[in-house]
Every structure is written in structure tokens, then in C-alpha cells.
């Protein structure tokens, strides 16, 4: 299949378990996974995507600061020439138990193509990514 995705946990976030599982799941699903691990800046995501000519960036944020950390990522991607690269975000994106539809809206407005609520299983993301990249199952 040969599609490449950059995977990582943004900001000062150290939650490593989900990241390790996502790496395995996306790899098993046939993606070429570039896992930059936890505690990554927006720049690290973008550099990795440029270097590996990635098709999508999968951002995890678990610790609650996701909203602050993700702001401006789409604009920076645009500036860096990563026009229209797929941006997904998942994890526990905001502080506290909030109305999901509103959280989703806020992240979509920030330019994320897909946004996932807490506890979403990797399979859901894989299915969507295959769909968005036009990959047949």
C-alpha cells in the first residue's frame, strides 16, 4: 500500500501507552508508520511529515492541553508546504468531560479533518484513513 503516516503525542504530554498501541495497529494495517513518540512540538510533526513525504499526520493528545497545543498546526502545515495533508486528532483532547459535538467542532475549525473522542479504538481511525486516502480494504 505504501502510505506513510506520522504519529505522535503533542505538547508536554507523556502518555506513551496509546501511542505504542497505535503504532502497532497502523503498522499491522499496512501503513508505513513514522512514530515520533511523546512530547512532540508542532515543528517535530511537520518536519517528520516533510522528511518522509507523509500522507497524514495523526496527533494524539491525552493530558488535556490538546486545545492549546494543536492551535495553529494547520496554518503551520500550510506554510511548510504540507497543503491539504490529512490531520487527525484523538485521545482525551480537552480538559474534562465536555459535550463531544462542541469539542469536535472546535477542532474541525482548527483545520483537523477528523477528531476522535476518548477511548476510540485504533480500528476506527484506520478505517477512516483508508477511506480518506482512497484505499480499498
Amino acid at each position: 500500500m505504501g502510505k506513510t503516516v506520522v504519529l505522535g503525542v503533542i505538547g508536554a504530554d507523556c502518555h506513551a501507552v496509546g501511542n505504542k498501541i497505535l503504532e502497532r495497529a497502523f503498522t499491522d494495517a499496512g501503513f508505513n508508520v513514522v512514530n515520533i513518540g511523546v512530547m512532540c512540538s508542532q515543528e517535530e510533526f511537520i518536519n517528520a511529515a516533510i522528511e518522509t513525504n507523509a500522507d497524514a499526520i495523526l496527533v494524539s493528545s491525552l493530558y488535556g492541553h490538546g486545545e492549546i497545543d494543536c492551535r495553529g498546526l494547520r496554518e503551520k502545515c500550510d506554510e511548510a508546504g504540507l497543503k491539504n495533508i490529512l490531520l487527525y486528532a484523538g485521545g482525551n483532547l480537552v480538559v474534562g468531560k465536555q459535550e463531544w459535538s462542541e469539542v469536535e467542532k472546535r477542532f474541525k475549525e482548527m483545520g483537523f479533518n477528523r477528531v476522535y473522542p476518548p477511548g476510540t479504538s485504533p480500528e476506527v481511525g484506520i478505517k477512516d484513513l483508508k477511506h480518506d486516502l482512497g484505499i480499498e480494504d
Binding site: A12, C14, A16
Partner: protein
């Protein structure tokens, strides 16, 4: 400074201190003498060491939540609510993640955004930005002992500020607040930085002020085998004691199998006492049991089941305190109501079980023996590679994978150990990496996992680990196929 496990001289300490207090403007408000005066006036019912001692003597388990929001007034409201409505016995201030990374500038942004948004945009209380004065306002607004809970590799300024503000306990340690919480902080640095924090407490002790220190027991909270976390806890206890800390609470995160959990707590307490004695440290030791620290079920009723079972185990193990989760755990930082609910379910369980203990049995005895043996294997090797120096040994041991914490993000962690549950749900080791266990012990683990594999009609392997990680969130302890 050269890394060794040796009490810092005053000269060493105060030299570094100058630098520390300059890391952020609020640092300049810390005055050791004035702080000592302030701490001397802390009444007994607001002192961690005093309250822990009373609980230990009475055989009672205290309940402590986690909680922290960005703004002082909100934080005070939150803590008061947990105290008055939630019936908490001890109070925390959970520190936000930017502070934990010493990114105080970003805290300012978070504070401002929180004011604008009308809700906390930070996942905790930025104590350094609020400074001694802000932290004292919090302390003075509550009626219970107050502790900083965080995950900060370099907590020197934070520690200075919170102790000066009357907070009589500080959680953390060189390993436990680095390896699970950071990616690229070296152990040399985190050990030195936590020696500073411990030395600060030691200095207060020398001024006649008793403060409590609590290494963070659960590490990554994810299938950490008891002997690994106990080894780390004992090491951090010894490192702290060397700097003059005299009131220590060692912790352990629930794995879920009752016998293993009680055994781990007993082994931890007994073995730590032995080590303190061997090295001649005079430490008042208490214990803390963490309710399940891994992935939680989303359903709140199910979360109550997990919370209550953790409380019951804490009581049956005779822990001095238990750290409480909430029904919102799987989703996000809890509202104050959800947080109070977690404490109330916990207290109810603790009170039903007050005075009850898991009686000694063959199974419990053997599990205690096993955990102690394993812990000793690790500790012996750490001392060996450190040529007798514990601090040096820790650095070397991590390099060599002798100390290795499952699922930790740090690049200084080998990450070769893979745990999995046996058929009774006890956490065993599937891949040992370089953990220095005897062949006998390794074979024993293997045989237990094979017993499970036979029961589940599949091979021992990584899929078990993945299934076990998801299991509690899906409502089970052991990750069976087709859960």
C-alpha cells in the same frame, strides 16, 4: 556536581539554590527562615506527617483525591468542596503539565486563557506562577494537610515554593517523576535535582520541621510488575533518606489481583524498613496504595466498581492512605462533583472495611516471598553496577536495562520488559529484557503465563499484553480473547 548518593553540604545546596530561585520571578519571594517560621505554625491537623502517623497508629486508611485547576479561587473552591462535600482526609494540589516541564511561560498563557474561557485550560494548578503568596492563600483556605502532586523531573523551584507555603508533603522522585513523565531528561540530572528537593526537606527537618515525601509508586500505571515498582520505591526512599528526609510514604499502584496486591504492599513496607535499617536511616515509614492507574472503563457505574475494589484492596492491605480515582477517569479531568463521588465511594468502602485485613495464608506468604526475592535481585544488581553507590548504580542500571519500566516514554529506559497477566490476573513478566532475575524465577513466570495460554487456547505472546492493556477499560482484569 558529581553524582553520588551523599548528603549535599550546605555549601553545595545554597550554591545551586541561587540559580533555582532565579528560574522564575516568584522564586525571589522564598525566604527559608521566614518559611520555617510559617511552617512552625502549621497546626497538627494540617500537617501531613502528623496525620499519617495518627492513621498508621490507628490502623486506618486515609483517602486522598487528585485535583487541580488553573486559577486560585477556583482551586480553593475545588479543594474546599472535596474537603467538605467529598469527605477527603488529605488534600492534593495537582500541578499542571507545563509547570512539570518548567515551561512557566506557557502557564501564563494557560492562566490567561482560563480567565477568558471561564474554565480551566490547564490540567492542574501552576503553583510556581502563583508563587508563595498564591500557594499560601490556598493552604490557608483549607483545613486539611496539603500536598503537591505532579510528575516533574526538575521540581526544585516548585518544591521551594510549595513548602514555603505550608504544604507539608511533596510527591515525586528522581526515577518515578522522570522515566514515566519525560522523554529526554537524563537520570543524572533528575537524581541531582531530586537530591535538591530532598535536601530542602532535610534542611527543614534540621530546623525541627517535619515534612513528608512520597515517591510516586505506580510509575506508568500500566501493568508494572510489583518487584519493579517496589525496587524503584525503595531506591527513592533511600536516596531521600540520605538527604535527611525522615518522613516517607512509599507507594504502589494496584495491579488487580488481591493476593498479589496485598503481598506487594507488605513486601514493600517490610523490605523498605529493612533497607532503611541496614543503611542506618531513621525514617518514619507509611504506605500509599493507588487505585487502578491504567485505562478505566468509560461507564461511570463500572468506574465505581473499579474505584471501590481499589479501596477494598487498600484497606485489606492496611495502606496508610489510598489515592482516589473518579467516575470521569476515562474521559477527562473530573468535575468537582465527580471527584467527590470518587472519594465518597472510597470512604464508604474503607469504613466498611475498617480494621479488616487479608489474613495470612500460604498463597499470600509465597507471593510476598517471591516479590521480595525479585526486588532483591534488582537492588543487589543496582548496588553492584554502582560499585556501592546507589545514585551511580541507578544511572548504570537503567543503561543496562537492569531497571526497566514497562511502557515508559523516556529514552533512558530500555523498554525491553513486557508484562502480562497470569491466569489469576497477577502481573507477571513475559519478556525480561535485562532484569536480573534468577532462572528459577523466570521459569516460574513463564510457567504461569503458559498456564494462561493453555486456558485461553492460544500462544503466550504480545497479543496478551495488548489485550491486558485494554482489559480493565472493557470491564475485565485479564484480557481474554473475545473479551
Amino acid at each position: 556536581m558529581e553524582l553520588k548518593n551523599k548528603k549535599w553540604t550546605e555549601e553545595e545546596f545554597f550554591k545551586v539554590r541561587q540559580e533555582v530561585l532565579n528560574q522564575w520571578p516568584t522564586g525571589k519571594d522564598v525566604d527559608l527562615e521566614e518559611a520555617a517560621e510559617y511552617l512552625r505554625k502549621v497546626p497538627e491537623h494540617k500537617s501531613f506527617p502528623a496525620k499519617l502517623k495518627k492513621a498508621k497508629e490507628e490502623g486506618i486508611t486515609l483517602a486522598q483525591p487528585r485535583a487541580g485547576v488553573a486559577l486560585i479561587e477556583d482551586h480553593i473552591n475545588l479543594l474546599r468542596y472535596l474537603q467538605d462535600v467529598g469527605e477527603a482526609d488529605l488534600l492534593p494540589s495537582t500541578i499542571d503539565s507545563y509547570t512539570r516541564q518548567n515551561r512557566y511561560n506557557e502557564c501564563e498563557i494557560g492562566l490567561e486563557e482560563s480567565r477568558k474561557a471561564g474554565r480551566s485550560m490547564l490540567n492542574g494548578f501552576p503553583a510556581v506562577n502563583h508563587g508563595v503568596e498564591g500557594c499560601r492563600r490556598v493552604f490557608e483556605a483549607v483545613d486539611l494537610p496539603l500536598q503537591a502532586r505532579h510528575g516533574t523531573p526538575d521540581a526544585r523551584l516548585l518544591s521551594e515554593i510549595i513548602h514555603a507555603a505550608g504544604w507539608t508533603s511533596n510527591e515525586g522522585g528522581a526515577i518515578s517523576y522522570n522515566i514515566p513523565y519525560a522523554k529526554s531528561v537524563s537520570l543524572e540530572k533528575s537524581i541531582l535535582d531530586w537530591q535538591y528537593c530532598d535536601r530542602l526537606v532535610g534542611l527543614y527537618e534540621e530546623m525541627g520541621i517535619s515534612l513528608n515525601r512520597e515517591p510516586f509508586g505506580p510509575l506508568t500505571g500500566t501493568l508494572v510488575p510489583p518487584s519493579i515498582s517496589n525496587a524503584v520505591a525503595i531506591i527513592e526512599g533511600l536516596l531521600a533518606a540520605e538527604q535527611g528526609v525522615r518522613n516517607i510514604t512509599l507507594g504502589y499502584g494496584q495491579c488487580g489481583n488481591l493476593i498479589q496486591d496485598v503481598a506487594a504492599m507488605k513486601a514493600l513496607e517490610e523490605q523498605a524498613e529493612e533497607y532503611f535499617k541496614t543503611f542506618g536511616y531513621d525514617v518514619y515509614l507509611t504506605t500509599v496504595f493507588h487505585q487502578w492507574m491504567g485505562g478505566f472503563p468509560q461507564d461511570e457505574a463500572k468506574a465505581f466498581g473499579v474505584i471501590s475494589w481499589g479501596s477494598a484492596t487498600a484497606a485489606l492491605a492496611g495502606a496508610t492512605k489510598v489515592i482516589v480515582k473518579t467516575p470521569h477517569e476515562a474521559v477527562g479531568i473530573p468535575t468537582k462533583e465527580a471527584n467527590a463521588q470518587g472519594i465518597k465511594a472510597t470512604k464508604q468502602t474503607l469504613n466498611l472495611l475498617r480494621g479488616q485485613r487479608l489474613p495470612m495464608s500460604k498463597e499470600l506468604e509465597e507471593e510476598i516471598k517471591l516479590i521480595k526475592m525479585e526486588t532483591k535481585c534488582i537492588l543487589d544488581k543496582v548496588f553492584e553496577v554502582g560499585k556501592g553507590d546507589l545514585a551511580v548504580g541507578v544511572v548504570k542500571a537503567f543503561e543496562m536495562g537492569i531497571l526497566d519500566i514497562p511502557f515508559a516514554p523516556s529514552k533512558y529506559n530500555a523498554g525491553k520488559v513486557l508484562p502480562a497477566r497470569d491466569n489469576n490476573g497477577a502481573v507477571r513478566i513475559l519478556e525480561f529484557g535485562n532484569i536480573p532475575f534468577t532462572k528459577e524465577i523466570k521459569d516460574f513466570h513463564r510457567s504461569l503465563l503458559e498456564e494462561r495460554a493453555r486456558y485461553e487456547k492460544r500462544e503466550v505472546g504480545f497479543q496478551m499484553v495488548v489485550d491486558d492493556i485494554y482489559a480493565v477499560g472493557k470491564g475485565f482484569l485479564v484480557g481474554r480473547p473475545n473479551m
